[in-house]
Amino acid sequence: MATEGGHGTQTSGEYITHHLQNLQVCKNEAGEWVWNQCAGNPGAINVDSMFWSVSLGLLFCISFWLAARKSTSGTPTKFQALVEIIYEFVDTSVKETFHGKSNLIAPLAMTIFVWVFLMNFMDLIPVDWIPAGAAAIGIPYMKVVPTTDVNVTFGMSMAVFVLIIFYTIKYKGFLGFVSELTMHPLPPPRKGWGLLAAPFMIAFNLILESVALIAKPISLSLRLFGNLFAGELIFILIALIGWWQLPLHFGWAVFHLLIVTLQAFIFMMLTIVYLSLASSEH
């Protein structure tokens, strides 16, 4: 497919690189907005990632809003029933794990689950369809799966990270947050000659706990990114091999369907777990 892709002669390497390139816009050093000359520019925006991510988010919000607006205690429509099933699923997951009372966590979990699922689901659209369509109307690059963009997954996990810190401080106070970082896992001695060792132990605890804290958002986002990026890459590789791609693509898509759902669920579940850890006493 690669050599017949409509871009003239193209090697496999070029085909793969092309598929993994975001459509970017940024302000260059001369102060002009330019397309696709943004390597290394921290102000660049991946237009395709943002477009698909926001579109899918809007699709989720609007369709769920329409269902929620009409939802009554009477007989539900089919879509409303689907929304209610997702509601029950999220609600059960939250209630089983998070024992405090929060108006934020359940909606957050639902947004993460459905939105990440929809973004992951873009992976199952054959890899050439949307980029080829975009090329036909003059858009050179189009990466359609937002969760294969590390910016997107980090953007979400960072919001969760901020919430983790916020919940820790809200439930344990600022001092509680600090002591959580410094007093575990080695409680420093409080009297006698042992006091001399206390600063070292506090420093040790701080390093250990900071790493543990920072590892949470990083592992959360890299897990999602890695799974989806690898899946996307395999779809691209499968697309390179000619007619035999059809059964292979089907097989991988079936398997990937599992990953798509599972990764959305894991992201949601870990968010709930982190927030419930942040808000519960040891």
């Binding site: 921290p42 990632s49 509601y87 359940a106 909606p107 639902m110 947004t111 997107v152 953007g155």
Partner: protein
Amino acid sequence: MDFNATFWGQTIAMIVFVAFVMWKIWPPLMKALEERQQKIADGLAAAEKGDKKLDEARAEAAQIVADARKQATGILDQAHSRANEIVAEGKADGTKERERQLTAAAAEIEQETNKAREELRGQVSAIAVASAEKILNREIDARQHEDILGKLASEL
């Protein structure tokens, strides 16, 4: 793979979407589902109550039927005894009537007999007078000999 402003864009988008879900999606869903839960619970309770009421009504109906049956049996018994009574009364009346008629008939017969006897007696006495007239060949004053004739007749 580079980090760039997409990161911030995604974070802002996420905050907006979560806020929207908190504001417009989660609460109505929660309300609807809780209401439905309540409705189902009420419905189940009502069904149970209805069942109980039905059972009660069944028991009541059975009671009423049993009462009615008892009453009907009573009425039937009463009717039977009344009928028997009527039959017995009729029988008694019949017997009385028969006796009355028998008595009347007997009286009548006696009367007739007596009448016939009187008649016969008269005739016999006339025959006897005629026979005596013929025998004696002379006229007997009937008025003078009435006591004799009467005696004769009573002996017949």
